[in-house]
Each structure stands twice: as C-alpha cells, then as structure tokens.
C-alpha cells in the first residue's frame, strides 16, 4: 500500500501529457477512415478531374496532353452551348417556382390549423420519391393520351414536343422539390418572434400587407439559403432529362442538360477529357454561387 501512495503522484504528472497524447492518438484513429474516404474519393478526384481535363483521354486511359484544347472544344461545341443554355433556362425558371410554391405551402401550414402535421407530411411526401419513379409517373400522366391532356384538352405529348419538354421537367421538379423548400421556410418562419406579428396586428395591418411588409423581408436569410442550395441542385439536373429522353437529350436537344453532356461525352463518345473539362466548368459555376452566398449572407453557415 505504501507503493501505491508513492506511485500515484508520478503517473499523474506524466499522465497529463500522456492523456493528451492518448486522446490525440484516439482522435486520429477515429477520423482516420473517414478522412481516408474523403481524401481518396473526394479531394483526390477533384485534382484528378482537373488533370484529366488537360488530356485527350479515352476509355482505355490517357492518350496525350492537349493543354487547354478540351476547353476550347467545349466553347466551340454547339451541343455544349445548347446544354448550358437549357440548364440555365431550367434553373432560372425552376428555382423561383420552387421557392414560391414552397413558401406558399409553408405559410399555409404555419397558420394555426387542425391536422398540421398531416398536411406537412402529405406535402413533403413527393420530395421523398425517387427520380426514376416520379419520372415514369410523369411520362404516363403527360403522354399524348395521358391524364393531363384529358383534363386540359388537346393531344400533346409533353415530353415528346421540343417546345414543352424542358418545361415539363421544370413542372415535374418544382412539384417534387417544393416540399423540401417548404421545410426550410417552415423552420425560418418559426424563428420569427410572434411579437412582430402582434405589433402589426395592433396597427390593424391586413394579412396581405403584413406578409409583404414584415414576413417576406424577415425571411431574407432563408431566401438566400434556398436560392443558392436549390440553384446548385438545379444546375445538376440530370435524372429526369436522361429518363424522358433515353439519354439523348431530345427531342432535338431540348432536354440536353450540362450533366447529360458530361455523361454522353464520357460514355457515348469516350471523350473523358472533354467530359472532365465540362465537369470542371460546372464545378466553377457552383463554386461561384456558393462564394456569392457566403459574401452576401456573410455568416459561417455551410450550404
């Protein structure tokens, strides 16, 4: 027992550093596997994609270095230009639509009503459905003999007509994304203190005016968040365009999106170099959007 009293202080002093070292050791051990995954499958591919974009690269691998040739190819390629145009048009229309619909739904759900949880779940549900299933259902509803034509009249194949195909994807995705947007707006609405409304109610301000004068401006951070996050999501549109056109981006390139271009350059034309450079262009566009958001919102929020 005398040995015990003697030995306790000694390891105690050493254990301060020992414990720190041990804690750090376990810390590294815990993050080792996740960091390896991020390193090998995220950070390395980022560098590798940029590298590949400077090569002529086929299905069998590297052919030869071509400098910035792949980027010039992109710039001159009418199909790439069309893909960028489609993607931008799609994004510019779909995002405000998702925001308006999501905000409307959030406002309605946020009103003190019975069955709130039920309605919230019901409106959110389409957001959970897989793109493949929802697109199959849309193809069915929007075909020439489909339910939509039965309701609105006419005999248009919505995905088969170049003037409506992209806008049909806009409608489809606005429907399925609005539920998620709604959840973000709901969270933001609930963070607005109620005394703000009470003050405006005392002033006798109407519901409509209260919304435009008070609620809408107070939601500014939420607007920015949703705009950027869903704007980035919209730039990546692919699944629906791929499925409705069978990967062709048709009819007549009307549903050809930027990511579809990347896919087809790689897997149809085996131009991995050009595909990688298109990926880099998309990445830069997304990065710019994110930087703009950070700068405007000016907070350490991560999107």
């Amino acid at each position: 027992m005398t040995t015990a009293t003697e030995t306790i202080p000694a390891p105690k002093r050493g254990s301060f550093f020992g414990a720190r070292v041990r804690e750090a050791g376990w810390g590294y051990a815990f993050v080792l596997l996740p960091m390896a995954v991020f390193g090998v499958f995220f950070i390395y591919p980022l560098v590798y994609a940029i590298y590949i974009s400077f090569f002529e690269w086929g299905i069998l691998g590297k052919v030869k270095g071509v400098g910035t040739q792949n980027y010039h190819t992109l710039y001159d390629d009418q199909i790439f230009r069309r893909a960028v145009k489609n993607t931008i048009e799609y994004t510019v229309v779909v995002v405000p639509l998702e925001m308006a619909l999501g905000l409307l739904m959030a406002l309605v759900i946020n009103a003190r009503i019975r069955g709130r949880a039920f309605f919230r779940s019901a409106l959110y549900f389409p957001s959970l459905v897989s793109s493949a299933a929802i697109t199959a259902i849309a193809i069915y509803i929007l075909n020439a003999d489909g339910l939509l034509n039965k309701i609105v009249g006419g005999h248009r194949s919505w995905f088969g007509d170049p003037s409506t195909a992209l806008w049909s994807i806009v409608g489809l995705n606005a429907w399925t994304t609005a539920g998620t947007v709604m959840l973000f707006y709901l969270a933001a609405l609930q963070s607005i203190p109620t005394d703000v409304y009470e003050a405006s109610a005392l002033d006798g301000t109407g519901t409509w005016r209260t919304f435009w004068r008070i609620t809408f401006p107070l939601l500014k951070p939420a607007h920015f968040f949703v705009l950027v996050v869903f704007g980035i999501g919209a730039l990546k549109v692919f699944d629906q365009a791929f499925i409705v056109s069978g990967g062709t981006g048709g009819p007549v390139y009307s549903t050809y999106t930027a990511v579809l271009y990347i896919y087809n350059e790689a897997f149809k034309s085996s131009n991995f170099g050009v595909a990688a450079s298109a990926g880099v262009v998309l990445f830069v566009a997304i990065l710019l959007l994110t930087v703009i958001q950070r700068a405007t919102v000016g907070r350490a929020e991560i999107g």
Partner: protein, 290 residues
C-alpha cells in the same frame, strides 16, 4: 331565408373573428387544393397498376376488372425482384457503414482534442462543395483501373461516408453534456468504449434520422448506379436503374410501368409513414446546420 339568418347572426361575431374564419377557410381550401394536386398522380398511377392494358384507355379511377396481374408480372416475369434485392443490399450496407464512420468521425471532431483537428474538419466541409458530377469522370477512371466496375464494391467504396452525415453527427454530439463522458472516464472506460457504450446510445435520435435519410438516399440513387452498373451489368441493376431501363423499353405498358414505379416508391412510403418525424427533423437539421 339564409341571408336573413346570416345577417341576424352578424353582430354576434366580432369583426376580427369573422376575418379569422375567412382566413382559415382560404387556408383550408388552399391546402386541400395543393394536396389534391400533389396526390392525384400517385393515386392515378396506383389505379392504373391494377388495370389491364386495354382498360388504360378509359379514364375511370376504379379499375374494372380489378387485377393484380401487372404486379405479379413485374415481380416474377421481369427482374424487379432482383432489382429490389440489389437495392436493399446496397441501401442497408451503405447505411450501416455510414452510421458507423459518420458517428466515429463526428464524435472525434466534436469531442476529442488533437492537433490539426480544425484544419481536417475544414477539409471535410470543403468536400461538400465537390459535386458528384465532377467526381464522375475521375472516380469512374479510378474504379476502372482497380477493376471495381461490374461489382458492388465500387459503389460501396465511394459511398462509405459523406461529409453531410459526419457533420450531422458532430453537431449532435456537441449538444450532449460532457458529464456522461466524464462519468464513463471515472469508471475507467477507454475512448472507444466511451464512444461505443455511452455516446452512441445517447445519439439515438440523430442516428435514427441519419439511418432513414441515408437509406432513402441510397434506395433512390439513380446517378451512381447508372454510371457504375449501367455499362452492361444488368445483374447489378438497382431498383431505380432497372425501373428507368424498363421505362425506356416498355414505355406504353402502363399497368406494368406503374406497378414498377409504385414498387420503387413503396419501401420509402412505408418508412416515411412510420418515421415521418425523423425525416422532417433530419432534413431541416441537415440543411440549417446548428
């Protein structure tokens, strides 16, 4: 008659209350309209899946004759059973591994002190900015070189853990009081044991939310299965990839196509009906981020 009774009742209802009633009426009407708009496609698809092909030219909602032939057909004659099993296998595997690695890393970043922690964490957050569409080409080239295209391991490998999941777990661990770990330490529990036996059970709600969202994400994934299995590996087709292929091949076989689509939705619908709270809490937390 009606007018007079309304007029008579009017003075009894204060002005504010009347406008409140009108407001609620508008709210309910809007809700019902949106809900109908949102659910008509699903109900219509469900109805069609129980019809015969000739009957799909009519627009009746109740199938007549009512037949489950399309359902039986996609499950037995076509490959939807295999698609479902493939998807189930991938979704479960990816979810379990994500849960483990995201918790492990999330816990370390939340609680353990080690040099370079902040820098490493910044790196993790940085990966959030790298889109899958950029990783597509390099990852495909890497997996091809390693002969991991044409089996499930490539898919699992690139989906072992995501930054979103790790971040989500870290944020949750930060909210757990330190007392629990200190108590465990006094009991002589080591770091891993403290994590495994004390912290992980405490993170139950976060783990449930993450499990549900990750399962849904993998089950619904179309992009990576298309890239990794879509180049001639039909035995690896997942539910979504198989369904997309089926859509392109049997575009006008509506009962079959709708049965397949509902089948692809069904597991998520069931999970959602049981765990809707976790879904909604998870999406909001993962987006807003503490």
């Amino acid at each position: 008659m009606l007018q007079t009774s309304v007029a008579a009742a009017e003075p009894l209802i204060p002005h504010r209350a009347r406008s409140e009633v009108a407001r609620r009426l508008v709210v309910y009407l809007l809700l019902v309209a949106i809900a109908l708009l949102f659910f008509t496609p699903f109900i219509w698809s469900l109805s069609t899946s129980f019809k015969t092909l000739p009957e799909t030219v009519y627009y009746n909602l109740i199938p007549h004759p009512f037949t489950a032939a399309a359902w039986k057909s996609v499950w037995t004659e076509y490959d939807f059973k295999r698609y479902a099993l493939n998807s189930l296998f991938l979704a479960v595997t990816v979810t379990v591994i994500n849960l483990f690695l995201a918790s492990l890393g999330g816990y370390a970043f939340a609680r353990l002190r080690f040099p370079g922690r902040e820098l490493l964490f910044l790196l993790v957050l940085g990966t959030l900015m790298i889109p899958d569409q950029l990783r597509l080409i390099p990852v495909f080239v890497m997996l091809t070189n390693w002969h991991l295209i044409g089996n499930f391991s490539g898919y699992i490998l690139i989906n072992l853990v995501t930054a979103v999941n790790l971040f989500f777990m870290r944020q949750y661990f930060l909210t757990i009081p330190k007392d629990f770990e200190e108590a465990a330490k006094l009991d002589g529990a080591g770091y891993f044991k403290t994590f495994w036996r004390v912290m992980l059970p405490l993170a139950g709600p976060a783990i449930a939310a993450l499990a549900i969202l990750q399962f849904q994400g993998t089950w619904n994934d179309f992009f990576w299965p298309l890239i990794l299995f879509g180049q001639g590996n039909e035995h690896l087709y997942t539910m979504q990839l198989g369904l997309a292929q089926f859509t392109l091949t049997y575009q006008t076989q509506w009962p079959l196509l709708m049965a397949g689509s509902i089948l692809a939705i069904l597991p998520i619908l069931v999970i959602f009906l049981i765990f809707q709270r976790f879904f909604i809490a998870g999406v909001t937390a993962a987006g807003i981020k503490g």
